[in-house]
Amino acid sequence: MVCFIFLQSIKIIFLSKTKQNKLIIITLVTTFVMYNYFVYTQTSIEPTPKLSELAIKGQQLYQENNCTACHQIYGLGGYLGPDLTNIISNPIKGSEYVKAFLNSGVKSMPKFNFSEGEKEAFVQFLAEVDKTGYYPNYKAEMQPDGWVKLMYKTNE
């Protein structure tokens, strides 16, 4: 499949009649390859700690039960439930609060039947996400040119 994509891209490039079009496409594709390399290798502001095995299990449960339909992480997800990015470090909530909610079936929340081990995995996943940053980012600095300087947890 990769070969097919590559060959068709080459075909498209040489189908273009004008040199200008060829040059634009070659520039775009080359920049795209380099850009992808940097995005794939240098995304994080600081080396982000690896997710533990338990956290990955929790993330898998998060996906299998489609928690993202209602909840967000870093504001990404559905809006029927609250954002969970910093729920573990929230002094009013925290891991016990999350565990109590998981099987509660309260309001729109489906009635799940997670075991204690699964609850631990969920909490571990959210705890490790929590360590990566803030959302909402109350300590961000607004700059006069419209830019926003985010406050990273690793800055502290």
Binding site: L76, Y79, L80
Partner: protein
């Protein structure tokens, strides 16, 4: 045979739109009545049913249209009819498997592709078959490609790449680093939408060129400028979705610089086209033209919205609120759907113009109901988003989420009514389309004695 498969794609596309809109309307009730259908289809199942159906509409309508235009309008001999049949069969089997995956709760994918991840393989295979058929049909048959052929080809290639990229989380290198993982995931989504936009906008330029009987529309410098800007946007413009994630600032600088330029160009192309349109060709393609006019309006609205929310300062407050949903629904419902409905009416007009003429009144009512309801729908989302932003940055510590959510009820009620208006509007518009395409696939038997 040449027409049957494209029409089957279009029939399934219209069904996906109606089913997806129905799931959307049902899901919206759960915002106010949490127990509504909770036992049968809770929100974590009904939302993906809605979203995947609507994505199915965009993909199937664009694909069916491209097959139709290649074989019926451009009069090209398709490379392989068998591949076209296999492509259709694969997509239908996958669609069925996706619905089963959601109804039974056997999920495991991520947002927008929540179905069992293994189902991505046959989807990729379907795109691969489409790619072979498309390029083998078009390459060397047409010289000096108009821009829509470029756009369709580019859309197919990048669709395969970004669909694969959306599943990089299977690779431990990505999955173990949460920031890298979520960034690449959203990179793929942004570019995935860019890829289908290539298919949809290519279709809009094709329809414009055919309505006006002027192929120069797809060959002008402006059209190619638009194509290259769209391509740059597809490749580099995704990160405005992730300004708030703690990534390297350069990723956000690039996105800020490049984002949203393509809307300006599309808008200017449509305006140019509208100005130079002759009255006679407008009448012959009445609804096709009118849906493109609606596109014109929605591009303008979304242009403003997109430009504003791509400014990091404003994005900071709108991200994670319903304003983002207003933007994404404005583009998929307002822009993509009106372009695709225009394409479908253009196609049906070639075969069943009498049927369209018979149902002009109901289509007209549907057209206005759809557009007015969508305007109200997006306005309510903007209001809900503004309220949520205010809660997030001013009241979150004092007001619990549930109390805030209840405070949205008056806005959500209006949102639900507008959503129902969109559904009814689409029904009025789509039923004649559906009937017309079915008649083309299964022509009624002539009355006895008249054969």
């Amino acid at each position: 045979m040449n027409k049957t498969i494209p029409f089957l794609f279009l029939i399934c596309a219209v069904l996906a739109l109606l089913v997806g809109s129905t799931f959307g309307a049902l899901a919206s009730f759960q915002y106010i009545f949490p127990e509504f259908l909770k036992e049968l289809i809770p929100f974590n199942k009904i939302r993906p049913l809605h979203v995947s159906s609507v994505i199915g509409w965009v993909v199937l309508a664009a694909t069916g249209g491209i097959y139709y235009y290649l074989t019926e309008t451009l009069k090209l001999s398709i490379f392989s009819k068998k591949l076209m049949v296999v492509h259709f069969t694969v997509f239908m089997l996958v669609a069925l498997a996706i619905y089963i995956s959601y109804f039974t709760g056997k999920m495991g994918g991520r947002e927008y592709m929540e179905f069992l991840p293994i189902l991505t393989l046959p989807i990729l295979f379907g795109w691969f078959l489409f790619g072979i058929n498309y390029f083998k049909t078009v390459v060397k048959k047409i010289t000096n490609w108009p821009v829509y052929l470029w756009m369709w080809g580019t859309g197919i290639i990048f669709m395969m790449y970004h669909l694969s990229e959306a599943h990089f989380w299977f690779i431990p290198y990505f999955r173990e680093n949460f920031i890298r993982d979520i960034s690449v995931q959203w990179k793929s989504y942004g570019s995935f939408v860019g890829s289908w936009n290539m298919l949809v906008y290519g279709t809009s330029i094709f329809v414009m060129a055919k309505i006006k009987h002027d192929d120069n529309i797809g060959r002008g410098k402006k059209a190619f400028f638009f194509y290259f800007l769209g391509l740059a946007n597809l490749m580099f413009g995704w990160a405005h979705h992730t300004y708030i994630i703690p990534t390297q600032p350069w990723i956000r600088y690039v996105a800020y610089a490049i984002s949203m330029t393509e809307w300006v160009v599309l808008y200017s192309i449509i305006i140019d086209w509208k100005r130079s349109l002759s009255k006679q060709s407008v009448e012959r393609n009445h609804f096709s033209y009118r849906f493109l006019l609606a596109t014109d309006f929605w591009v303008l609205i979304n242009l403003f919205m997109a430009l504003l929310i791509s400014i990091p300062y404003l994005n900071f407050f709108t991200h994670g609120t319903h304003i983002t949903v207003a933007h994404s629904m404005g583009t998929t419902v307002g822009i993509n759907t009106t372009i695709l409905l225009s394409s479908l009416f253009f196609i049906l007009n070639q075969h069943q113009s009498k049927l369209i003429n018979k149902t002009v009144k109901s289509i007209n009512v549907g057209y206005w109901l759809f557009n007015v309801s969508l305007f109200i729908f997006l306005t309510t989302l903007m209001l809900a988003g503004a309220k949520r932003s205010s809660w997030m940055y001013n009241e979150m510590s004092a007001t619990p989420f549930s109390s805030f959510h209840e405070s949205l009820f008056p806005i959500i009620t209006t949102f639900i009514i507008a959503g129902l208006g969109i559904l009814v509007g689409l029904l009025l518009v789509c039923l004649p389309l559906l009937k017309g395409f079915i008649v083309e696939v299964c022509p009624p038997n002539p009355p006895e004695g008249r054969a």
